[in-house]
């Protein structure tokens, strides 16, 4: 089954639309769903032109395609998604794929903050950039992402994979400040530069194939390792936090 949601032009164009109902599973029982613009409840078809092709009886067989102007203000798309596929032909708003446990979300444009927050399984592919707190935890600092994969082909913002405890996050471009802060498990890979990686880490592995700017002084240099054809410098830390995580960087600079 393929559900196409094409956004209609909206009058109050900047109020975000919370659309946690947009999860493949929900379309198994039709398209009579609600979304919210601010404090107003709207029918799905007030916001989108809805087209359904084919049918399905399990989420795995549902693909939701979102398109149109203004998709960047759609929040919470794919929240608690457990199977199927969501494709966004453009940008997506905050909290896409929160608490996701299965299935695939593919975003052709950029993703706003908190992409895949507290994700436990499944796959998110972001072809553009991801904003702050990609694959992070929630306020209060417990476990962030615990499983699944997030792959960002552009850049990522600050606090990437904050508090990550499991799963894999891969960013092909640069990442911002505090990538992998409070990390205690899982794997974070940044293909280009980032700043202050793995601050306060307890465990897990963080790879920076570019330069770690503002490298923290509390990581203990162990030596060098070969990793997928690259020579990386291996650190253990964060010593300030009694951490036993692994940080691998190609190059680093202290703020001395």
């Amino acid at each position: 089954m393929r559900v196409t949601l094409a956004m209609r032009p909206a009058a109050r164009s900047f109020i975000p639309i919370e659309a946690e109902a947009i999860v493949p599973k929900n379309f198994l029982s039709g398209t009579d769903l609600s979304v919210w613009r601010g404090n107003r409840e709207l029918r799905l078809d007030e916001v989108f032109s809805v087209f359904v092709e084919g049918s399905a009886d399990r989420p795995e067989d549902v693909e939701v395609v979102i398109s149109g102007d203004g998709t960047s203000r759609l929040k919470r798309v794919g929240e608690y998604m457990d199977g199927g596929k969501i494709t966004v032909l453009g940008d997506i708003g905050m909290h896409c794929g929160n608490f996701m446990t299965g299935g695939t979300i593919e975003i052709h444009g950029n993703a706003d903050g908190w992409l895949g927050r507290e994700m436990a399984g499944g796959t998110i592919l972001c072809r553009g950039d991801a904003a702050d707190y990609c694959a992070s935890g929630y306020r209060g600092g417990r476990k962030g992402m615990t499983g699944g994969t997030v792959e960002v082909f552009g850049r990522a913002g600050d606090f990437l994979a904050e508090s990550i405890a499991g799963g894999t996050v891969i960013v092909h471009g640069d990442a911002g400040d505090m990538a992998g802060a409070e990390m205690h498990g899982g794997t974070l890979v940044v293909h280009a530069d980032c700043s202050r990686p793995a601050a306060n880490m307890k465990g897990g592995s963080c790879y920076v194939y570019g330069t770690a700017h503002g490298m923290l002084p509390t990581f203990k240099r162990i030596g060098t390792v070969q990793h997928e054809g690259r020579m990386l410098i291996h650190f253990i830390g964060d010593i300030a936090n009694r951490g036993k995580g692994n940080l691998f960087v190609k190059d680093y600079r202290y703020l001395d």
């Binding site: 903050g113 908190w114 904003a131 702050d132 707190y133 913002g157 600050d158 606090f159 911002g176 400040d177």
Partner: protein, 129 residues
């Protein structure tokens, strides 16, 4: 020349903060405190006008030498002048970079605007000018 702009509290800002339409408040919050060597370099004397250009635009302030400020840094009391050029991004924390903006400085003959003028530039309407 580029500088790191830090904004913060001063006694004079606090003393005038409940009277924001006063000349004293405008004077205090349009002061760009800097190191005397930096001023020399830019050819600025105390109270000379200086154009400060930040990520979101430019504003004219008055330069004043201060022993508290290190070279390469300027300090501006909290207020509408600094905020005229500060970016609204918060790194998704709610808090803008009030203490870490790269700005460019150049001497100018223009006068600093009044608070009313700044507000009207952004679409406001002054009440008791």
């Amino acid at each position: 020349m580029t500088f790191l702009m830090i904004t913060g509290r001063t006694v004079n800002q606090g003393v005038t903060v409940e009277n924001k339409t006063s000349a004293a408040y405008a004077a205090e919050t349009s002061t760009c405190f800097m190191h005397e060597f930096d001023m020399l370099e830019l050819g600025l004397a105390d109270n000379d006008a200086v154009r400060v250009t930040g990520p979101c635009g430019e504003v004219v302030m008055r330069a004043v030498a201060s022993p508290e400020v290190g070279m390469g840094t300027i300090f501006v009391p909290y207020g509408p002048y600094a905020n005229h050029i500060i970016a609204a991004g918060t790194h998704s924390t709610g808090m803008p970079d009030f203490k870490s903006h790269e700005v460019a400085l150049e001497p100018t003959d223009e006068e600093p605007k009044t608070v009313h003028e700044l507000m009207e530039d952004l679409g406001g309407l002054a009440y008791d000018r």
